[in-house]
């Protein structure tokens, strides 16, 4: 469980990708996402995955991304089976299944290298409403907190004799109640406490709050941005003509 929770927690690191402007990281992620979506052959999806892994290696997040991908691999097996059963060939079903892994990989690249603060700046840059930005960023920020809560709740209930692994499928589902109820209650308590704390610090008092940080593109951001667009365009041409 700790192992899985760890895959969702953003960790600040120094890497050539982490230091980029979050808008450039978003651009990279969108490009890779698009490549994943249009990959229709084994070679295409192979190239896309190779690029995703190369960027992940550069960002020093290969191990953490591997955990996320392993989790999504279970769904991709399901995608493979369903596509195969409805009449697609083994190769097409395989490409569609691996495409799902590539899509998850391309999006997790952005979230594993972008802090919730940077995410907030990007959303504000897109001029999204303040409340929407706050709600989204808070939700992202609280995912690891909820995971850790779930671990502590499971520990507490196991200490009271709850054996989650025992019993048939129905019994196992029933045994989730002692985990899920405290998890929801804790989340509700935490959100109401957060709302009160935010109000106490004048959240919403002005329509356009000022920001201490502003996004500025540095030279390296511009270089990476231009190179990535050129590389993306070249791959697009190859995918459609090659």
């Amino acid at each position: 469980m700790y192992w899985l929770a760890n895959a969702f927690i953003f960790r600040r690191r120094y890497s050539p990708i982490h230091v980029l402007d979050p808008r450039i990281k978003l651009l990279l992620s969108i490009e890779l996402f698009t490549l994943s979506l249009i990959s229709s052959t084994v070679i295409h999806i192979g190239i896309t995955l190779a690029v995703i892994f190369a960027v992940a290696a550069l960002a020093k997040i290969l191990e953490r991304m591997y955990r996320t991908l392993l989790f999504s691999a279970a769904f991709s097996i399901l995608i493979f089976v369903i596509n195969f059963l409805v009449g697609y060939s083994i190769i097409t079903s395989f490409v569609l299944a691996v495409r799902f892994v590539a899509i998850v990989g391309s999006t997790s690249l952005f979230f594993l290298t972008t802090s919730p603060d940077e995410l907030e700046y990007v959303m504000k840059w897109f001029r999204l409403p303040q409340d929407v930005v706050f709600a989204f960023v808070t939700a992202v920020r609280f995912v690891p907190v909820l995971m850790l809560d779930a671990i502590q709740i499971m520990d507490a209930q196991k200490s009271r004799g709850l054996e989650l692994e025992k019993g048939n499928f129905v019994n196992r589902i029933k045994k989730l109640a002692p985990i899920l109820i405290p998890l929801v209650v804790t989340a509700v308590i935490r959100s109401s406490e957060l709302a009160e704390a935010m109000e106490a610090r004048a959240y919403g008092a002005v329509k356009k709050p000022t920001s201490l940080y502003t996004l500025t593109l540095k030279r390296r951001d511009k270089v990476v941005g231009i190179l990535s667009v050129a590389f993306f365009a070249a791959l697009l041409i190859y995918f459609f003509t090659g």
Binding site: D149, I153, S159, G161, P182
Partner: protein, 271 residues
């Protein structure tokens, strides 16, 4: 009874939470585990019912290696009450909350009824038997968690920060309960930052710092040792401070408020 032999534990994040810990907990003693945040106190107690398994070394509970036992079988004898009550309560009524553990451990229906009745009466929760646990106050929730664990009568009771959110009256009640459990031969292990609560019980005191045990001895020795306290970022109990300011011999340190009162009154009368 509970034995840690050269136990190290490396957290999945890579942090070494326990570093070559060797310690024994004996029957019938009250032990306080103290130390700064992140010292490894909770990690240590989570090894006592098998929630965590050592990365290196062996933990034996009543002679059984914890790696060979389930959490449920160990929890039957080692009851842990965790810090956050909201992480444990889920039932529709207080009565059902206490029943939960008893049913998991397979107690018969009449024993379940008897134990629930006893636990709710003992902890002053009888009037809330049919109330939702969510409606209780923070202190009542904490007592309910304690009642829910004591109901199955474990041999060892581990309390993680038991005084958080408790008023003075309930702290005193908790102290009485601990003393009562000790008369029954139970072992009580307290993980706490509340030095003032621990001091009158004069527990065997284990000080942890960065995953290591840096001191293990009677409270009267540990809490009067300035070097241990400062290196572990602990503050001495007020009665120790008072004794030291009065320049008393270390053997004369006030162990509770009444001995301090007697000493002061005797000096006033003399003068």
């Amino acid at each position: 009874m509970i034995e840690f032999i050269n136990v190290s534990y490396i957290h999945p994040t890579g942090v070494k939470a326990l570093d070559d810990v060797t310690i024994q907990f004996r029957q019938g003693e009250v032990v306080a585990i103290v130390g700064a945040n992140g010292a490894g106190k909770t990690t240590l107690v989570k090894h006592m019912n098998g929630l965590l398994k050592p990365t290196k070394g062996t933990v034996k509970v009543f002679g059984y290696d914890t790696t060979q036992q389930t959490v449920a079988s160990l929890s039957r004898r080692v009851g842990i009450v965790f810090q956050n009550a909201d992480h444990q309560l889920f039932s529709d009524t207080v009565e059902h909350e206490v029943e939960f553990g008893l049913r998991n451990f397979g107690f018969s229906e009449d024993v379940v009824k008897q134990r629930v009745e006893w636990a709710l009466t003992f902890f002053g929760l009888k009037e809330y038997a049919n109330t939702s646990p969510m409606m209780l106050s923070g202190g009542e929730k904490k007592r309910l968690c304690l009642a829910a664990v004591l109901a199955w009568d474990p041999d060892v009771l581990v309390l993680d920060e038991p005084t958080v959110g408790q008023d003075l009256l309930h702290k005193e009640k908790l102290e009485q309960i601990i003393r009562l459990l000790l008369t029954q031969g139970k072992t009580v292990i307290l993980v706490s930052h509340d030095i003032e609560f621990l001091w009158p019980m004069q527990p065997r005191t284990v000080v942890m710092n960065r995953g290591k045990i840096v001191a293990d001895g009677p409270a009267s020795e540990v809490f009067t040792d300035d070097s241990i306290l400062s290196s572990s970022r602990l503050i001495k109990p007020q009665l120790v401070e008072l004794s030291q300011r009065l320049k008393l011999d270390s053997r004369e340190v006030f162990d509770n408020i009444f001995t301090a009162k007697r000493w002061i009154l005797s000096r006033v009368r003399c003068s």
